[in-house]
């Protein structure tokens, strides 16, 4: 259908052009020619600007002392320029049991509700732009990137200030669709199993995003 509209549109355009050509009169010296067709000047708003990226995230997160769990989330980004971007991520997982809980079979450390693990972070990212050659003819634009961010993790009944360090690979299947493979470390202080310590929670993520 779209093809039909396009072709029709082109026909209309061609007609417009030819009629404006026919309407032209021979130029006489000293006469002022008033343009009969006034075309729109370039309107910036008509240029489709695609600096935002939005998508879904799935992965696995290893929650320190609480085994690994599947992770689901959302990822949004704004590209400031070709090198830098800002990224916001939200994710949810459910923590497993500590090895102590598994081995002793005793009372659990956390209630079911407290095992819900969720986080958000806002990061600053730097791109190393490049291309990926799957074969000689199958080439995609891609980027390896590094992120540094801060946010919060809600786990064990409390929210904790969280710093996140990450690296990722973005494969642009088309101009507006990308696949991401990310590896990220979420660092926060926790005293859940005794003394306070800095925990490292490693996330392996896969996400599909769209630019708009």
């Amino acid at each position: 259908m779209e093809v039909r509209f396009r072709s029709l549109f082109l026909v209309v355009l061609a007609l417009l052009n030819s009629s404006s050509l026919m309407a032209q009169e021979p130029v006489k010296a000293g006469t002022l020619i008033e343009p009969k067709v006034t075309r729109q000047d370039i309107n910036e708003a008509n240029i489709d600007s695609e600096n935002f990226e939005l998508g879904l995230l799935v992965g696995v997160i290893s929650i320190e002392d609480f085994s690994s769990s599947p992770l689901f989330g959302l990822r949004a980004a704004y590209h400031i320029n070709e090198d830098f971007f800002i990224e916001a991520t939200y994710g949810q997982a459910e923590a497993g049991e500590t090895s102590f809980e598994v081995l002793s079979g005793g009372a659990p450390f956390l209630t079911e509700e407290e095992r819900d693990y969720s986080f958000y972070n806002v990061s600053f990212g730097y791109n190393l732009n490049g291309e990926t050659f799957f074969t000689d003819n199958l080439v995609f634009n891609s980027a390896t990137y590094f992120t540094l961010g801060a946010g919060s993790t809600d786990f064990g009944g409390d929210e904790r200030f969280t710093v996140s360090l990450g690296a990722g690979y973005r494969l642009l299947l088309t101009d507006y669709m990308a696949l991401h493979f990310t590896l990220r470390d979420h660092l926060f202080n926790s005293e859940l199993i005794g003394e306070e310590k800095t925990t490292h929670n490693i996330e392996y993520g896969f996400s599909a995003t769209f630019f708009f």
């Binding site: 509209f5 396009r6 029709l8 549109f9 209309v12 075309r39 729109q40 000047d41 370039i42 309107n43 910036e44 008509n46 240029i47 489709d48 600007s49 695609e50 600096n51 704004y78 590209h79 400031i80 320029n81 070709e82 090198d83 830098f84 800002i86 806002v122 600053f124 791109n127 732009n129 490049g130 291309e131 634009n141 801060a150 946010g151 919060s152 064990g156 009944g157 409390d158 929210e159 904790r160 200030f161 642009l172 101009d175 202080n189 005293e191 306070e196 630019f211």
Partner: protein, 266 residues
């Protein structure tokens, strides 16, 4: 309008289909609607007026140059990513040109193409800023997300949400602020702000004792800050805020806060 008519009067549509002339009219109106919308949205064309412009395989300077559009050639702009523009030439070759190169073209009316480029000259034309600040909220780490509406060169309105997460308690607050930038034409420019909002403070779960639960108070803020135009589309901000939480206790709570962060603008 067309759809409404179709829904409300099945009878009428039937008549229109039975009469081929009416049907054609309907079709023409429909097509006219489609083409006018296409005309207003598509075909942003420009003519190259310098010897040539380089077309890259991707929207960054590192991508190789795959083609050049020569002087006199007409190009159509398809889309924009940061300061790169995807174009298609009359020979249907696609590539990305940087904004500086696109400014070497002119429109069908002979006007040089000049688009918002995030430079300091176009900085004063911005309408919206948004960004993130991180800092210290009475010594505990805090994170703020904000959005500004730039009403005039000097005055802007801001909405911000902050979360401060300490070992003993966590606080969340929002503020609605009015800001005044005294010297908007300076790259490094100070500003003052006044704001109102609400704060919610909750002690940590492992410290909760009876009677010590989450409380919400009204909040007043006085702030002082500087912003620095660092690069295209990018600002750095440093802020100090003095907050007064109107508690239900005998004394109001005074909170001092330092924040450093960045903002982007449109």
């Amino acid at each position: 309008m067309l759809c409404l008519r179709l829904k409300s009067g099945g009878h009428k549509v039937k008549m229109a289909f039975q009469n081929p002339f009416n049907f054609r009219c309907l079709l023409l109106v429909c097509m006219w609607l489609c083409t006018t919308s296409a005309l207003s949205e598509e075909l942003i064309q420009a003519k190259v007026v310098e010897p040539y412009i380089e077309m890259h395989s991707g929207p960054a300077g590192g991508y190789p140059v795959i083609h050049v559009a020569a002087k006199g050639e007409w190009i159509t702009v398809l889309k924009r990513r940061t300061s790169w523009f995807k174009i298609i030439t009359a020979d249907e070759i696609q590539g990305w040109v940087k904004q500086d190169d696109l400014h070497l073209t002119e429109s069908s009316q002979g006007q040089p193409v000049k688009l918002f480029d995030g430079s300091f000259a176009s900085f004063s034309e911005r309408d919206i800023e948004f960004g993130m600040l991180g800092g210290s909220f009475e010594g505990i780490p805090s994170l703020t997300i904000f959005a500004d509406w730039v009403a005039t060169d000097n005055i802007s309105a801001e909405v911000s949400v902050t979360q401060a997460l300490g070992d003993l308690s966590e606080s969340q607050y929002f503020l609605v602020k009015a800001q005044h930038t005294t010297f908007p034409e300076w790259r490094l420019s100070p500003y003052i702000s006044l704001g109102v909002g609400q704060i919610r403070t909750q002690p940590k779960a492992n410290l909760v004792q009876s009677g010590d639960e989450a409380r919400t108070s009204d909040l007043y803020a006085v702030g002082l800050g500087v912003r620095y135009y660092l690069a295209k589309n990018f600002l750095v901000k440093l802020e100090y805020n003095n907050l007064q939480a109107l508690t239900s206790r005998d004394e109001n709570e005074e909170i001092e806060e330092w924040k450093l962060g960045f903002a982007v603008y449109f």
